[in-house]
Symmetry: C2
Subunit: 285 residues, 2 copies
Amino acid sequence: MEEINEKGQTLAQFLANYDDSKYRHPSNTVDMILMTVTDKKLKLLLIKRKDHPFIHQWALPGGFIEFSEDMEEAVRRELSEETNITDHTYFRQLYTFGNADRDPRTRVITTMYLSMTPEENIKNTKAADDAQDAKWFTISKKVVESAEQNRTCILTLDDEKEVHMEYVIHDTAKHNYVETRSILSDNANAKLAADHIKGINMAMDMLQNRAASTGIMFNLLPEECTLRQMQDVYEAIIGHKTDTGNFRRDIRKMLKETGKKAKVSGKYAALYRFNPMYTYLEENL
Amino acid sequence: MEEINEKGQTLAQFLANYDDSKYRHPSNTVDMILMTVTDKKLKLLLIKRKDHPFIHQWALPGGFIEFSEDMEEAVRRELSEETNITDHTYFRQLYTFGNADRDPRTRVITTMYLSMTPEENIKNTKAADDAQDAKWFTISKKVVESAEQNRTCILTLDDEKEVHMEYVIHDTAKHNYVETRSILSDNANAKLAADHIKGINMAMDMLQNRAASTGIMFNLLPEECTLRQMQDVYEAIIGHKTDTGNFRRDIRKMLKETGKKAKVSGKYAALYRFNPMYTYLEENL
DNA sequence: CTAATAGTGTCTGTTAGACACTATCTA
DNA sequence: TAGATAGTGTCTAACAGACACTATTAG
């Protein structure tokens, strides 16, 4: 039985008359916060823009969503355009930024995705069409001051050669939300395009928060790895050293033994793999 | 100093030549998951669509984002269009759904917001232009089976008269993500439009997860309330009874005393208010 | 030998679940 | 009086932080 609306139209008739060209529409993009760990340091991929707007500023890789393309398809396409990353890379939606004035070209609504991959998966990183350069930056976020309703953190992005970006992040607890302000620090010699610092900050919050209680960090590790490798990645995420005994005691709950051993700096260390049963803890927003 | 791109253009010149009309653009909407608690039950506002597509189906209130309007402005506008809700209503972004085929009219990318308000704030709920009806549904999500890598829940939406919607939600833990499937149950006599069940399910997950560890539930309570009122709201969210002694012991950490007392069913009970210092725990995604 | 890393054991204070209990008011 | 709700106290097992410890290998 075909349903009919108040004008007596069937769905097919309604769609035939539907016209969305009367209104101007925003552009939609996906941006990727792509992380890996190399040399025991957490890294973020940034590109240097070669055109307006935000010319010569560092930005998250990303691009427009095509009209008939799912958002996840757009993310996968961008991932393979920017790097030679395989299809199995982990990514998850983080947040959608859509302030009316966030891009001077037109209204741009961007959905940011957090993506992670082990070092071994990154074959080469090419600078895409819109980029002058693409670089992996060491990223860290550290709390410098914490009071009852305020917290101050320093988020740094450093290429360990010439580029150093540093933001002071102030969080203030209001009645039912947390207000976050990000200020470019004086010792920075470059800056991030648009509102990208907001997404990067949210990604760091999420990662640091979930590192201990979920298996999220295993997306930065090879399938089989030693406890020491795990602890190195964990410490790269949270930004400080942690107790080895406690770390091992707690992480074991998430692991399966492989029976294999690998030689790591002299001694033979046991290899473990993540027990996917623990993916469960991650599910919740 | 004015920056110049490879074509020798300043930003102003670049923008003057920028034209986004060559590509067809998606439409962008905001949808609201608006909850309250009445009669010790968690409620969700749904509207019955009066036109194609999804005609006569129950849907989340929402609408198109105007070209020059911030997303949060669109949410506030929709909130006041659907209800007489004041400006102080809590809302937070949940997720953006943008599958290419999710709406038969055109490509529609929708960002869902979870919004909560105490019962007292809802003066009247009007059916908007696009709606035949607007109703508050009792919502609950309960786990019915839980194994190592699988979980089955039942999510019900019931108007306690004639409409009963029921979905079976299957979660399966994969290597690094959780796959969720939602199936309309046989005992349902109505259904939700488009993919709205997905957002509602995510909202319930988030609420249930954060109810114990954050102050999120205080958005459903008047500023000053008794411990019993809090426990009622908490139980409405998680869907089952909880131990009164333990609940009181734990919730006290988040409260400030007011010194006032209110008469609740005979006895005088102390009134408390939420200590916003605890907003902090909520911040993290 | 020392330095570095793999890996273990233990003590302690805090927390979460279970449950038993008293007090006060209404019907 | 019974029944409901306000509000408290206690026992226990699990957990998290701090820290001391052994074992093996490279240089």
